[in-house]
């Protein structure tokens, strides 16, 4: 985590003048989001349902280029079913690429960790995030927007109380997110 922070600060220092040229905010950005989403474990024994839950996400980073925003993010998606609470935690690095200078459309990619928790059941794996979003300017310093992201993870075991109950388990998380961001 320390390395990531140092890298981001470094990127911020480099990125500031570049970002400023394009009218996008210089320096750090901060993103706060709420989402509706669902998670699903995939394995021979896994329950196949995909139920809706609520999610919050926080991300912070810097502009590496007027069209490229990088940062770190963390979030949690949770739902309760039959008195059992399932929560999917995630964190990692994220990048957003704006293919057209004047457009709020951006493509999202990220790498990191995802952890599933449901009472004694645990699952931890590296995850890949892909998605797309759309910024809508609110003020000169703030944008709002929405995005859809899909997290995918695989090749990890599902544990219950420390004992493996399934191998090569996959996890997918789909989120539809509304956010505000300090540019």
């Amino acid at each position: 985590m320390k390395l990531t922070t140092v890298a981001l600060l470094g990127l911020a220092l480099v990125a500031t003048p570049v970002a400023a040229q394009d009218g996008r905010s210089a320096g750090l950005w901060l993103d706060i989001a709420a989402a509706a989403g669902s998670a699903r474990l995939s394995c021979d024994l896994c329950e196949s349902g995909r139920d809706l839950g609520g999610s919050v996400e926080l991300a912070v980073g810097a502009w590496a280029h007027p069209r490229l925003r990088v940062g770190i993010d963390a979030g949690a998606l949770t739902r309760s079913d039959n008195n059992a609470r399932e929560t999917v935690y995630s964190s990692g690095v994220v990048a957003a690429l704006y293919p057209r200078p004047a457009s709020g459309l951006h493509l999202i990619a990220g790498l990191g960790w995802v952890g599933f928790r449901a009472e004694q059941f645990t699952y931890d794996a590296p995850r890949l995030r892909l998605g797309a979003g759309w910024d809508l300017p609110l003020t000169s310093g703030w944008v709002a927007g929405n995005r859809i992201t899909v997290d995918g993870a695989s090749f990890a075991s599902l544990q219950n109380g420390g004992a493996s109950v399934a191998e090569s388990v996959g996890l997918s998380v789909v989120r539809f997110t509304l956010y505000i961001r300090r540019r």
Binding site: L45, E47, A118, E119, F121, N160, G162, A163, V165
Partner: protein, 407 residues
């Protein structure tokens, strides 16, 4: 030989040709018939039964010891239409496990009890053998597992559960056969005489806190076991049928009988390789414990003659008739049964599949020994999953033409 014996023979041929099949306890190379087990041929018709003993004995299964055992049959012989007066529960041929495990020889563990070193015999009557099964049972997984995992099991079981005589008041050793195969790889086939609760002691069905010293168990050296035999007692009938607080008699509530097993297969070093704890429940036993009665046993049908109970609740079917406890018209003949599957634990990660135990499921070895019973256990440790099942047979009723107590 009737269709079950025939099916067993065919299965034997199949089993010989498919070496990769899991080897079930009663499949594999079928030996020649070398004789009859103690349990074979002990039933004889009485009262209104119309089948002969010879017709009854056509329903047989050959055990791996080469002995002929009685097995499941319908209450009515389809070939002649005669009635046996008793039933053995659900036809096992409908189970998804039947092709793999074959017909169940009734009394196999009883047969091998003494040969395996136990100091006394324990034989059980014929009518008490009750089969129950269900395919694709949606299992519950402990904690949040029910929301995370989707596991189904096929279960076929047989318990000797006599609910017509005083046997179970004191005797805690009963033969259980239990086959389970689950989608997560959990599975075992166990045949043993399992001690259910304390020998010589029963638990009052309507108040499990009350333990009754009912006498000396037969055999007297019966070991104590886990679980309990919750059996209706006169006070249950008094409180819930004869003088209920709200004036409404409830026979089912008073008579419900639950044999709660805590069975396991263990190695010579006493390591448990498989364990299970199903509850076998009967809603309509034909007897209850009453210390004031002859042999401590009274008959619920006799309550239907009491002035306030004529035509009430389960006595409705009797009306004003005076019928005996063993009349097919009695509503109390042990035909309404179900099984709570409960936990299925396997701790056999290092294998092998085949274990030989004594008739009590103990002293498990990888090599056969005199009196040993061949058990099959999946090579698996399912300790990460608290795998337990729901209820099977809840809405089934095994009444049939001619069926009556003793059943």
């Amino acid at each position: 030989m009737k269709k079950y014996a025939l099916a067993l023979s065919l299965l034997a041929v199949v089993a010989c040709e498919t070496a990769t099949d899991p080897v079930a306890p009663f499949l594999g190379d079928q030996p020649e018939i070398v004789g009859d087990a103690v349990a074979f041929g002990i039933w004889a018709p009485s009262g209104p039964d119309t089948c002969s003993a010879a017709i009854h004995d056509q329903y047989s299964a050959v055990g791996p010891d080469g002995l002929r055992y009685p097995t499941w049959h319908p209450p009515v012989d389809p070939a002649t239409g005669c009635t046996f007066g008793h039933e053995h529960g659900r036809d096992p041929s409908g189970s998804d496990l039947f092709e793999e495990v074959g017909a169940i020889p009734f009394g196999y563990a009883n047969q091998h009890l003494q040969t395996g070193g136990f100091g006394a015999p324990r034989n059980e009557d014929h009518v008490g053998h009750k089969v129950e099964w269900e395919n694709d049972i949606q299992m519950n997984v402990g904690g949040a597992g029910a929301e995370v995992l989707d596991i189904t099991c096929d279960v076929m079981t047989k318990l000797h559960q006599g609910t017509h005589s005083p046997d179970a008041f004191t005797n805690n050793m009963h033969e259980v056969v239990y086959h389970v195969r689950c989608t997560d790889g959990t599975g075992f086939s166990a045949t043993l005489l399992t001690p259910i609760g304390v020998a010589g002691e029963m638990v009052v069905g309507c108040d499990r806190e009350i333990h009754i010293d009912a006498g000396t168990a037969n055999p007297s050296i019966s070991p104590d076991g886990g679980g309990k035999r919750a059996i209706p007692e006169a006070s249950c009938l008094q409180q819930r049928v004869i003088a209920p607080e709200d004036g409404r008699p409830r026979f089912d509530s008073a008579l419900r009988e639950s044999w709660e097993i805590s069975a396991s297969l263990r190695t010579q070093s006493n390591k448990t390789i498989a364990s299970f704890n199903p509850y076998y429940q009967v809603m309509d036993p034909s007897r209850f414990f009453d210390q004031a009665a002859d042999r401590d046993m009274a008959r619920p049908i006799d309550l239907c003659r009491l002035p306030g109970l004529v035509g009430e609740d389960r006595c409705e079917a009797v009306g004003t008739d005076s019928i005996s406890w063993d009349d097919p018209r009695s509503p109390f003949k042990g035909v309404r049964r179900f099984v709570d599957v409960n936990a299925n634990r396997v701790r056999n990660a290092d294998g092998p599949n085949i274990w030989y135990t004594n008739a009590l499921g103990r002293n498990g070895s990888t090599e056969p020994f005199p009196g040993s019973i061949r058990q099959w256990v999946a090579i698996r440790d399912n300790s990460g999953i608290d795998l337990h099942g729901g209820v099977i047979g809840r809405n089934r009723d095994y009444d049939g033409p001619g069926v009556r107590a003793p059943n």
